[in-house]
């Protein structure tokens, strides 16, 4: 499992012909224009942002997640945030095992809440409020999440400084009300890894294309981003989205679809 995933992250772009940079730049300009029109059309409708979750809800069909229940912290909703912090600690050498790293992250939450830190998060407050057995469940869930990611990769092959769990946002220059989020769990200089959950679905390429779109829009030199790799730990399956002009179009169409859907376009908190 680890060998294949690492290879998918470090392999050069897999395309029959090299990327046509002129076509890429032209498509990127078209996409910027399309997003500008979408932003203007939505002006006055309130702030909104588009995430991979929205894309999945809009395009996932029968596999779309239900959107009825309001968000609430639980061991399941907290596992990624805590698990990513744990992997970051492991990579930095601050912890030797996922268990130790998760414990340290939860201790940080306790300390931040106890000391009234200004950086305390809602997750910190929730975790610190739990009784010991509840915290144990949260830790168990996060340990499993972190262990699967930690054991799935040959970290030494990924280059000097993989970035763990930093979401990238693109804010529309045409409207302060439109923002797109690119979520990736591991970013190397060459590629982006997204840990996926739920069933395999047709919408996954659009979800991953959104990551590529955000990277492209943020790039100062309009350069094409590296491949985006989606990985299901439950099955070991991989999906790799190569940089190609059609990826930009695919993601922009998905954004338009989300915005046209109305109910799935969430107001920014």
């Amino acid at each position: 499992m680890g060998e294949g995933l690492t290879t998918a992250l470090i392999a050069p772009p897999d395309a029959p012909v090299p990327l046509d940079t002129a076509a890429w730049s032209a498509t990127l300009e078209e996409v910027r224009g399309a997003l500008a029109r979408l932003a203007v059309r939505r002006a006055g409708a309130g702030p909104f942002r588009v995430t991979d979750h929205d894309v999945r809800r809009a395009l996932g069909g029968e596999n779309a997640p239900a959107g009825d229940e309001p968000f609430a912290w639980s061991a399941r909703t907290a596992r990624r945030t805590i698990g990513l912090a744990a992997v970051r600690a492991l990579l930095a050498g601050d912890a030797r095992t996922p268990h130790e790293a998760v414990r340290a992250r939860l201790a940080d939450s306790d300390r931040a809440v106890r000391e009234g830190s200004r950086t305390v998060s809602p997750l910190d407050r929730w975790a610190a409020s739990l009784p010991a057995a509840g915290r144990s469940t949260v830790a168990a869930e996060a340990v499993t999440w972190a262990t699967r990611l930690w054991c799935a990769l040959d970290w030494t092959a990924l280059g000097p400084t993989p970035v763990i769990g930093r979401d990238h946002w693109w804010d529309s220059p045409h409207s302060a009300l439109l923002a797109l989020r690119g979520r990736a769990d591991v970013r190397t200089g060459l590629a982006h890894l997204v840990v996926l959950s739920g069933p395999r679905r047709d919408s996954v390429r659009s979800e991953l294309a959104l990551v590529a779109l955000v990277e492209s829009l943020r790039a100062r030199d309009s350069a094409a981003p590296g491949p985006v790799v989606g990985w299901w730990p439950d099955s070991g399956h991989l999906v790799r989205v190569e940089p190609h002009p059609t990826v930009l179009t695919l993601a922009t169409d998905a954004v338009a679809h989300v915005l046209a859907g109305g109910p799935v376009a969430r107001a920014a908190a």
Partner: protein
């Protein structure tokens, strides 16, 4: 190569240790020693085994799709469906709150009249399972029933519903439940080894294998996995927890999970442990290619049954190797 004989029942501790001196030695130490075994001798598997098993199951799954049609919703199958596993092993229940195999997400089965029927064994299984995770993660349990309810509440909506159900019970009923759970916990504490963090113990590791392009999904949850995955080498141990039900069925569920792991990573766990908290008995065995082939044969036959309009699948019996 097999280093352990087929899984045999190890008698419950009270029957095996009449002296107080022996009673001071927890069974978990033996479980750990047997799981570890001789590190120089690990069963080897044909590198082509996983591909062959997958091809076998893909063929059967495509038969199902051909029968049900491309537009039919995915057929999501857990051990409860394909093996008839009783809820004592929780093998058919997902931890993510989905009622993938016919049970309500919280394990509470709806009954006529709009109420909620509560199979006692399901509630006990969920409580004991929550305490098992606590034991593996923290190494201790304070007040079994209180800890279990606190743990379930933190799980999210399905756990909260289970805890709310228990809290709605009458005081005498809760006392009885508490006593039952305490009996399980006594065995649990005795049986569950204390794994060093370096073994990478992780609980509730979910496996979901899509077949036929995702139109058929085989899924299950390892109660506990230990070991570092190594490409091409069987390097994991899996531990299953049973709070009741047939020993043979629970063992078969472990073989089913071993098959899913083979399809996920290319190699199965090399060793399996089954702990039964109702009695304190346990068994440990090596995974053999025969186990995997037997399960794949059963699943292929079961899927062929679905393709022949038998909603309960095909063969009910499977050789246990």
């Amino acid at each position: 190569m097999s280093t352990l004989p087929p899984m045999v029942l190890v008698a419950p501790r009270p029957l095996r240790r009449p002296s107080s001196l022996a009673a001071a030695v927890p069974a978990g130490g033996e479980v750990l020693a047997l799981l570890r075994g001789d590190a120089t001798e690990r069963p080897s598997f044909d590198p082509g085994l996983a591909g062959g098993l997958r091809a076998w199951l893909e063929d059967a799954a495509y038969g199902v799709v051909a029968h049900r049609g491309d537009l039919a919703p995915p057929l999501v199958l857990g051990p409860r469906e394909v093996l008839g596993t009783a809820p004592g092993g929780l093998g058919g229940m997902t931890v993510d709150g989905r009622a993938a195999d016919g049970w309500a997400a919280d394990g509470l089965a709806p009954v006529a009249g709009g109420g909620v029927g509560v199979p006692d064994e399901v509630v006990v299984a969920r409580l004991v399972h929550a305490l098992f995770r606590r034991l593996v993660t923290d190494g201790d349990i304070d007040d079994p029933l209180r800890d279990a309810l606190d743990a379930l509440r933190a799980e999210g909506s399905s756990g909260t519903r289970t805890s709310a159900h228990v809290e709605s019970m009458s005081e005498p009923a809760r006392s009885v439940l508490g006593a039952v759970v305490a009996r399980h916990v006594a065995h649990l504490v005795d049986l569950v080894p204390r794994f060093a963090p370096g073994w990478m113990p992780r609980t509730d590791d979910r496996v979901a294998i899509p077949l036929a392009g995702g139109r058929v999904v085989l899924h299950g949850v390892f109660d506990l996995l230990v070991g570092l995955p190594q490409a091409g080498t069987a390097s994991l141990c899996a531990l299953g927890l049973s709070t009741g039900g047939s020993w043979a069925r629970e063992r078969r569920s472990l073989h089913y999970l071993a098959l899913l792991e083979t399809l996920r990573s290319g190699t199965p766990p090399f060793r399996l442990a089954l702990l039964e908290t109702a009695s304190g008995r346990y068994g440990i065995e090596d995974v053999r290619a025969d186990h995997l082939r037997a399960l794949a044969s059963h699943l292929a036959a079961w899927l062929a049954g679905v393709a022949r309009d038998r909603p309960d699948g095909g063969e009910a019996k499977v050789p246990c190797g």
